[in-house]
């Protein structure tokens, strides 16, 4: 293998480039990214960067004296992949021929119809998004957050601490019911009320009021919430349109086996755009977590370089969220659990550990300000033998 193209220059792309070099690949390494920035860390964008305690430099993922011998092609989007010619075609017409391809194009924030030309309505995914949002976050302003997922909750928390008046609107009856289950979703979303943030659940958004700039959010239940600015946090969708027609199997992301190999030899996929086969779940599963973008490239690069995707299973998904001074951590899968029990601490104290089980077997763990105990449980889940669901 003489040339490898990594398409995507965020954490998954950088981790792939690092893994290629550490696993002995010494050929030409091209990294393509549609943002102009060198790889940066996204999680602080809704927290420390928005709060103003992190600078742009603090977000840099690369070490100042790190030299991976990478040819960076930044600020240019990949438009298509030609598997016959083994070529990535870029928006500026450039063509990158490569023996191996790592697809790491990530995901983008979902938007709501009718917001394209309305000033004051934001999404948060990129550094540029965060710079734009930060410029508008001023004490006393009224912020409406649409979507009580992790991004929405973190922005609400940061904005509240900065002195904004914050309302969070969630379409579901219980926030975070998907990733955490209903019981824990209720407990975690109570943090909003603890800190003087209004939470409105079970109603969708019908539209926005305001001519050039948003001045209100109209809800399905007829209410209109006055707003000086709006954050739309309604999830992300994988950036895989550029692969349509390439021959790669796509289904809510790039379908991969347990080692990250796509349906085409010589092409692996990692990060938010990749749906690896998960033997624990017995199905393909696209994981939109930072830790997956950090860890899985090692496995995918080993697959790419050896042509063999057998090897250990990826660790169970893990994510964290810092909100209202509380540290939340979750590992595993809540959806497949049939019970969840508090094993330590008390939700009333905002300090507890909960374990999710299926047929008595632990399948997930949630910690709120329980870092040490959570770490041990997470390890245990990671080393448990992988059993496919019956």
């Amino acid at each position: 293998m003489r040339t490898v193209a990594v398409v995507g220059a965020s954490l998954a792309g950088l981790s792939s480039a690092r893994a290629l070099r550490s696993q002995g690949f010494d050929g030409r390494l091209v990294v393509i990214g549609d943002e102009l920035h060198r790889p940066y860390d996204r999680p602080p964008l809704s927290k420390e960067f928005l709060a103003g305690t992190f600078t742009r430099d603090d977000l840099a993922l690369e070490d100042a004296d790190e030299d991976l011998g990478v040819e960076w092609l930044l600020g240019v989007r990949a438009e298509s992949l030609d598997l016959t010619e083994r070529t990535v075609v870029l928006a500026d017409g450039k063509r990158v021929r490569a023996d191996g391809v790592v697809v790491a194009t990530g995901a983008r924030a979902r938007t709501l119809a009718g917001t394209e030309r309305l000033a004051g309505v934001h999404t948060l995914r990129t550094l540029d998004d965060a710079v734009a949002l930060r410029a508008e976050v001023e004490p006393g302003r009224r912020l409406v957050v649409i979507g009580a997922g992790f991004i929405g909750a973190e922005v609400a928390s940061t904005a509240r601490a900065l002195g904004l008046d914050v309302t969070v609107v969630e379409a579901l009856a219980t926030p975070l019911a998907g990733p955490l289950g209903t019981d824990m979703g209720v407990i975690v979303s109570a943090l909003h009320a603890d800190h003087g943030v209004r939470l409105i659940c079970g109603t969708g958004v019908r539209g926005f009021t305001g001519v050039e700039r948003v001045d209100g959010v109209a809800l399905d239940d007829g209410r209109v919430l006055p707003a000086d600015l709006v954050l739309v946090g309604v999830g992300a969708q994988p950036n895989v349109e550029w692969l349509q027609g390439s021959g790669l199997e796509l289904d809510n992301g790039v379908r991969c086996d347990v080692g990250g190999l796509t349906s085409s030899p010589g092409v692996v996929a990692v990060g938010d755009c990749a749906a690896w086969y998960d033997r624990r779940l017995g199905r393909h599963h696209r994981v939109e977590h930072w830790t997956g973008a950090l860890d899985r490239p090692k496995r995918a690069v080993a697959t790419l370089l050896s042509g063999d995707s057998s090897g250990p299973d990826a660790a169970p998904p893990y994510f964290w969220s810092d909100q209202y001074g509380v540290r939340l951590q979750f590992a595993g899968d809540a959806r497949s659990a049939d019970t969840v029990t508090i094993e330590d601490g008390d939700p009333a104290d905002r300090c507890f550990l909960a374990v999710y089980r299926r047929d008595q077997e632990p399948v997930g763990v949630l910690g709120m300000n329980q870092v040490r105990a959570f770490t041990r449980w997470r390890r245990m889940l990671g080393t448990a033998s992988v059993v496919a669901p019956s």
């Binding site: 950090l294 001074g325 870092v371």
Partner: protein
Amino acid sequence: MLSVCPLSSLARGEAVRVEAEPPIAVFHTEDGEVFALDDTCTHQDASLADGWLEGCEIECPLHASRFDLRTGQVDAPPAKKPVRTHRVVVEDGHIFVELSAEEPNLPPGVSVGSQGAGGGA
């Protein structure tokens, strides 16, 4: 020198956080060695004493950066800067730490004296 605790009260494979400015983590490895480092990960605010100890390495409980306990060097990203190490003296079965005179590598947004007991960002 900072008095930590009797060696017998820190089991092998365990760590203890010592309140100091900045806080310190003392590790007792499975091989019976004792090491002291700044407790705060150099990447982002998390307590290394809450992390996963394996051999002579500590893995940060938040983002899985790994540091060599002997040198403080980064073994695995996302951390970029080493953790400051301190000299450990075990005398008459008691652990003492001699604080380093070097500057600590605290993560962005964290300064000496600014940390709460449980971390949290």
